[in-house]
Amino acid sequence: MGFSQFLDSRRDRAKALVKILKEQFSYVSILGADSKSTAIRVDASTSNISNGQDTECGFVVKLNNGSCFFEYAMDDIGEDVATLAEEIKEAFSASAALKQASIEHISLKDEPLVQSFARASDLHEYSDAQLLDFCQKTQKELQGKSENILNAMVALNTMEVSKLFISQNRELDQDYAFIGGVLVLVYRENEKVVQVYNFEGSQNVADVMAALPSKMDALVDRAHHLGYAKPIEPGVYDVITDPSITGLIAHEAFGHGVEMDQFVKDRALAKQYVGQYVASPICNMKDGAASALSIASYFFDDDGVLAGDTQIIKDGILVTGISDLASASQLGTSPTGNGRRQSTRRKAYTRMTNTFFEKGTDKLEDMIASIKHGYMLFETDNGMEDPKNWAIQCVAQYGIEIVDGKLTENYVSPVVMSGYVPDLLKSISMISDDFEICGSGFCGKGYKEWVRVSDGGPALKARVKLG
C-alpha cells in the first residue's frame, strides 16, 4: 500500500511534458493512474483470482487553447519527452476533422496547489491466500444454509487507486483503497429459480469480512420468499423505499438531471428550474466525493479539482448541479469535483459520486403504518435516466405488500417504477430518520462510460406508478 512507485517515477517527466506543451497550449494537464484491483470469486464448483475491473495504468494529456479540448491517452511517458510532445502536437495538427466549428472563449483556471492525499486501509495486511480462504469458508457456510441453494457464490473485489495530476500550477497525488464483498445465491423453490445478492463495502477488509457472514440468513430468507413472489398488478401505489431504492431515485430521477455537462448541451430540464421547487419541501439531496465515504469517494477528481460536497436540493428547491472542468468552463461556473473518467483512456464527463437524500424526522414504522395499501420496495436492480424530459425507470428487485399499515408476507418481483420525476419527488410525504449508503454498482453515461458510484439515504414515502 502507498502511492504508486511507477507514477512517482514519471512525475518529473510529466512536469517536463507539461512545460513543453505549454509553449503551444494555454492549458495543459496530465492525469496518471496506476490502479490495481483483484477479483476473488468462489462458487460451488469453481474459484478464480483475476485482475479486477478497476485495474488500469496509463496517462491522459488534456490541452486547451481557448476553443475545443484535445486529449491524448497513452500507456507511459517515456524518457524522450520532447519526441512525445511532438507526437501529441502532431496528433492534433490540421485535419478535416478539426476544420469544424468549435466551442469558443474557454478560459481555464489553474490555481496553485501542491498536495498529497492518502486514506488508511488494512488491505495490505491480507494476502490473496487469506482473502481466498475467507471466500471459500463463507461460500461453504452459505451453500449449507439450504438444500434449495443451487449455487452460492462469494466474491471479494479489492481496489487500490493511485492517481497523479500535474499541470503548470498543480501537483496532486492520491492513493486509497476500497474493498467490496458480494454474496450471490441461485436458489430453487416452488419450481422457480431466483437469483439474489447482497453487498458490503468498506476501506477495510476486516469490516467486509465481519459484515458479509451476518447477511447470509437474510439473503436465504429473501430467496425463499422470492420463490413465491408474484407479478405486481400495474397501478399507482403509496410506497416506502428502502435506502437502496431511495438512492436509485436520487441517482436516476434527479442526479443525472443535474450533471451540468447536460446543461451545456441543453439536455437537462433542471437547468430551467434552479431556484425553484422540484421536490417536496421536506427533501434535501446531496452529491459529492467528500459527502460520504464509499467506493466513489476520492480526494480530487480526474480534472485535478478537489472533491466536493454539493447541496443539490435544499428544502425542496433546486440549488445547483454538479460539474466537471469542461462543462463549468463553458457555463462560467466553478467545477464541483465531479469530473470522472472510466479510465485514462476515456473522456472525462460530469459524473455523480455519492448521491443521496438526507435523513428526515419520521420513524420507519410510522411510515409503514400510514399506508392503507401499498408496497415497500427493496434492492436496486437497475435504472435509466431521461434528464431532458424527466421520465424515469427504476427497477427494484422486489416489493413487499403493505396492508392496513403492516408489512405482509406477499412478495412481488420484479417491480418497475416509472413516471414523471417532479410528480415522484413532490409526492414524497415522509422521510425516515435513519440513513444508509451503498456502492455496489456502476453508473453509465447513456450506455457507456462506466464508473463506480454509491447512492442511498433514508426511507421515503412516495406515490408512484408500479408495473
Binding site: F6, D43, S45, T46, S47, N48, S50, N51, T55, C57, C68, F70, E71, Y72, A73, M74, D75, D76, G78, A91, F92, S95, A96, A97, L98, Q100, A101, S102, I103, D128, N151, V186, V193, V194, P231, P234, G235, K265, D266, R267, A326, R345, N382, M384, D386, K388, N389, A391, Q393, S413, P414, V416, S418, G419, Y420, G446, Y447, K448, K465, G467
Partner: protein, 424 residues
C-alpha cells in the same frame, strides 16, 4: 514477446500460459450543439498474461498485466506471484486449444482511411441528416477504434486479427414552442454505409418530433404491442444468456437442453443461432480470448433449446466441444407482414428507457418514451406509458417480422408483435 514467453517457460511452476495482446488506436470527436467540444486520440496496448498451474488433480490459473514500463525483474516477480495464486485455485482440469495459427482481418471498409478523415465524414453525415425545422442534434459523439488482437499460448496457438468498430451517439432534439424534447440514439457499425447512417439519424429526427407531439393516452390502451430491433435485441440476447455454458454450469439459468422456451406456441416459432462473425455485424470476431476459432451454433430451434454455447473452460466442464464465445446473435425471421399489422390496432414502441427482460421472475416490460398507437386509420404518437407482461406468455404468441434488421450484435426480425401485454 519472445522474452516474456521464455521467462514463462523458465518458471518451473507454470504448466501452461496464455498471452492476450490488445492494441487500440482510437479517434474520437465530441460535439455540443453542433460545435466541436473535444477531440481525443488514444494509443494504448494491454498485454494480459494468464498462467495455468497443474497441481494434484486440479488446475489453477491467475493473470496479470504487463505494461511497457514493466522491467524484467518485475516480470519475473509477476510470473512467480501469479503461479503462487494459481496454486490456490482448485478447479477441475481442462485443456487449452492447441496448434492453431492464423492472421485475420475482420471485414470492414475502414481500413486504409485516416481515422480523423473518417470521423469527419461520419459527423458530416450525422449533421446532414437533420433536415427538421426546429430540430437539432444537441450532442453527437463519434468513436472510431482499430483493434489489433493477438492470442498466444504454450500449446502452439498463435492468432492475430485486425478489426474496426465505430459508435455514434446522437441526441436528436425537437425544440417546440411549449417544450424541448429529445431521444437517445446509439448506432454501432464496423463498415460505413453512408445511406444507412443518414437514414437512421433522419428517422430519429422524425421520431423526436413525434415525441414532442405525443401525449399520454386519454383512455387505457388495450391492444397488441410491436417491438422494434433495439428491444428485440434485448429480448433475444436475454434468451441466449441463459444458454451459455457458464450459466448452465453455475445453475444461473431457467432453461436446459430440450426445454421449450415457447411452451404452447401459437405464433411464429423462435430459432436462434449464435455466430462468431456475421456480415455487417459490429461484434464480429474471428476468435475469442482463448484463441478458439469461431463458427456457428444453433441454440434454439423451433422454440426448443437445442444446444449451449460459450467459452473453453465451461464448455469442457459440461462435456461439450467448446464453441468459443460467440458474440453475434442471428434470429430467424417469421411470417408477420405489414398487411397483418394493418388489420388490428396496435402500439408500436419506438423508444424505451430500456426493455427489462427477466426469465427468473417471468417479466417483460418497461417505460415507453415514444410509441405510435395505430388505431387502424391513423398514427397517434403517445408517451407517458409503460408496458409489462409475462415473458413466457409473450413468447408463446409472438409474431416475428419477415424483414431482417441488424442492431449491435443482433441480426433478426425487424419487428415483433406481442400479445398479452398490459399498457398502463
Amino acid at each position: 514477446m519472445m522474452k516474456l514467453e521464455s521467462m514463462l517457460r523458465a518458471n518451473n511452476q507454470v504448466t501452461d500460459y496464455k498471452i492476450n495482446i490488445h492494441q487500440i488506436k482510437s479517434f474520437e470527436m465530441f460535439f455540443v450543439k453542433g460545435k466541436l467540444e473535444t477531440v481525443r486520440r488514444t494509443n494504448t496496448c494491454d498485454t494480459q498474461v494468464t498462467v495455468y498451474v497443474s497441481h494434484g488433480e486440479f488446475l489453477g490459473n491467475a493473470d496479470f498485466l504487463v505494461y511497457p514500463s514493466t522491467t524484467d525483474e518485475e516480470l519475473a516477480e509477476l510470473i512467480s506471484q501469479a503461479a503462487a495464486k494459481a496454486m490456490l485455485i482448485d478447479n477441475k482440469p481442462y485443456s487449452l486449444p492447441e496448434d492453431e495459427t492464423g492472421t485475420y482481418n475482420v471485414e470492414s471498409n475502414f481500413a486504409g482511411i485516416r481515422p480523423e478523415d473518417l470521423a469527419a465524414t461520419i459527423s458530416n453525415i450525422v449533421f446532414d441528416a437533420n433536415k427538421l425545422p426546429n430540430g437539432s442534434l444537441n450532442s453527437v459523439e463519434v468513436f472510431l477504434n482499430q483493434h489489433q488482437e493477438t492470442v498466444i499460448n504454450s500449446r502452439g496457438l498463435n492468432k492475430s486479427q485486425v478489426r474496426y468498430d465505430a459508435m455514434v451517439e446522437a441526441i436528436p432534439t425537437y425544440n417546440g414552442k411549449e417544450q424541448s424534447v429529445e431521444l437517445y440514439e446509439q448506432y454501432n457499425f464496423s463498415s460505413l454505409d453512408e445511406a444507412s447512417l443518414h437514414q437512421e439519424i433522419a428517422d430519429m429526427m422524425l421520431a423526436v418530433k413525434a415525441r414532442y407531439e405525443a401525449s399520454k393516452p386519454q383512455q387505457k390502451l388495450e391492444c397488441k404491442v410491436v417491438l422494434n430491433k433495439q428491444e428485440l435485441k434485448e429480448l433475444f440476447f436475454s434468451i441466449s444468456n441463459h444458454l451459455r455454458y457458464s450459466s448452465v454450469y453455475t445453475h444461473s439459468t431457467v432453461f436446459k437442453k430440450g426445454d421449450a422456451i415457447q411452451k404452447e406456441p401459437t405464433g411464429d416459432s423462435i430459432s436462434i443461432t449464435m455466430a462468431g462473425a456475421v456480415e455487417g455485424n459490429v461484434r464480429s470476431t474471428k476468435f475469442d480470448s482463448d484463441g478458439l476459432s469461431l463458427g456457428q451454433q444453433k441454440i434454439v430451434e423451433k422454440g426448443k433449446v437445442l444446444a449451449y454455447f460459450g467459452d473453453n473452460q465451461y464448455g469442457q466442464y459440461l462435456g461439450e466441444t467448446p464453441t468459443g464465445s460467440l458474440r453475434c446473435l442471428c434470429a430467424d425471421t417469421g411470417s408477420l407482414t405489414q398487411e397483418d399489422l394493418d388489420e388490428a390496432p396496435y402500439l408500436e414502441v419506438i423508444s424505451m428507457s430500456g426493455l427489462q427482460v427477466d426469465f427468473f421472475s417471468d417479466y417483460i416490460g418497461g417505460e415507453v418514451r415514444l410509441a405510435y398507437y395505430h388505431d387502424g386509420q391513423k398514427l397517434i404518437p403517445v408517451t407517458g406509458i409503460s408496458i409489462s407482461g409475462s415473458v413466457s406468455q409473450v413468447l408463446n404468441t409472438i409474431r416475428l417480422s419477415s424483414k431482417t434488421a441488424t442492431q449491435d450484435g443482433y441480426t433478426g426480425p425487424d419487428k415483433a408483435l406481442l400479445s398479452d401485454m398490459k399498457i398502463f
